[in-house]
């Protein structure tokens, strides 16, 4: 089946996740071979996901881990102690 661009866009997310069936995958790939617009959309979306998964993009507050383990240490030592203080 020949796919139009809009059809490809609808499945782009599942295509990236590898969850489209073999037939649809083949149709999408055939479309991508000649469609520059869809190829660019696919590449840009993929790159956004790479950037998202990069730890430097979404950083944790400085000192988060230390504070978390300090709090945890207090809880291990004195269960519910923080609650009582409040």
């Amino acid at each position: 089946m020949k796919l139009d661009c809009k059809h490809v866009w609808e499945h782009i997310s599942e295509y990236i996740d590898g969850s489209v069936d073999a037939k649809l995958r083949e149709d999408i790939e055939r479309h991508l071979e000649h469609c520059e617009i869809c190829s660019a959309i696919l590449d840009s979306t993929r790159n956004i996901l790479i950037l998202t998964a990069d730890d430097r993009t979404f950083e944790l507050p400085v000192g988060y881990s230390e504070r978390l383990h300090e709090r945890l240490a207090r809880e291990l030592e004195n269960p519910g102690g923080d609650l009582k203080k409040k």
């Binding site: 866009w9 840009s44 956004i48 790479i50 988060y64």
Partner: protein, 208 residues
């Protein structure tokens, strides 16, 4: 992966049996996940950090009830989500919540934005700070239901089933929300991508 889970099961058993100090070790690989989950819900750094601490303490207190039929990570992320929702409820009125629920029924335009010359953009462009910042802002601005699914799937890399389980929605809804979230981000970030590579083909240039 399997070894991680086996080690984890062993760790959990020892903690429950009394070696409670080991909980530090158990939680360490998931600290980031817990924070990001909270942040996706409350959208505020200090509130997310407080919530992350509460979620971790709560996981410690309830560890004996962890049955191992779900993965520890999924169990933990569920606790984090509940903590986030609890905090949100405190801050939000019931009226605002019902607006949020309607969002999914909204028939919006979730198509991506066409762009050309993306292939010409070198991978180094992804290193640019402003692109990261633009992505952070774009994710923060996503409607809540989309941001939460996107965070669990694409930031924390949970699979569809785990995400559905943690959020209490069906896998179909996870896929739909994820697709829309990704397309909204793609559309939003196109201007940042465009500036790095001027369109050379006028025909496509117009389509932008």
């Amino acid at each position: 992966m399997r070894t991680t889970e086996t080690n984890e099961a062993g760790l959990i058993a020892r903690i429950v049996a009394g070696e409670k100090e080991l909980f530090h070790e158990l939680i360490r690989p998931y600290e980031r996940m817990v924070y990001l989950t909270l942040f996706a819900i409350v959208k505020n750094e200090s509130e997310a950090e407080d919530g992350a601490q509460e979620a971790v303490i709560s996981a410690y207190r309830h560890l004996a009830s962890f049955r191992g039929d779900a993965k520890f990570s999924t169990w933990l992320v569920t606790i984090a989500i509940n903590e986030g929702r609890k905090r949100l409820r405190k801050a939000k009125t019931a009226a605002e919540e019902s607006i949020e629920e309607k969002e999914e029924a909204h028939e919006g335009d979730y198509s991506p934005a066409p762009l050309t010359d993306w292939r010409e953009i070198p991978l180094e462009a992804l290193e640019r700070k402003e692109l990261r910042e633009a992505l952070r802002v774009a994710v923060r601005d996503l409607p809540d239901i989309y941001r939460q699914v996107f965070t669990l799937r694409d930031l924390e890399e949970l699979n569809v089933e785990e995400t559905a389980q943690a959020l209490g929605i069906n896998p179909g809804a996870v896929k739909v929300r994820l697709h829309r979230a990704r397309m909204m981000l793609q559309k939003r970030l196109v201007p940042y991508l465009k500036t790095t590579a001027p369109a050379r083909r006028l025909f496509f240039g117009r389509a932008l």
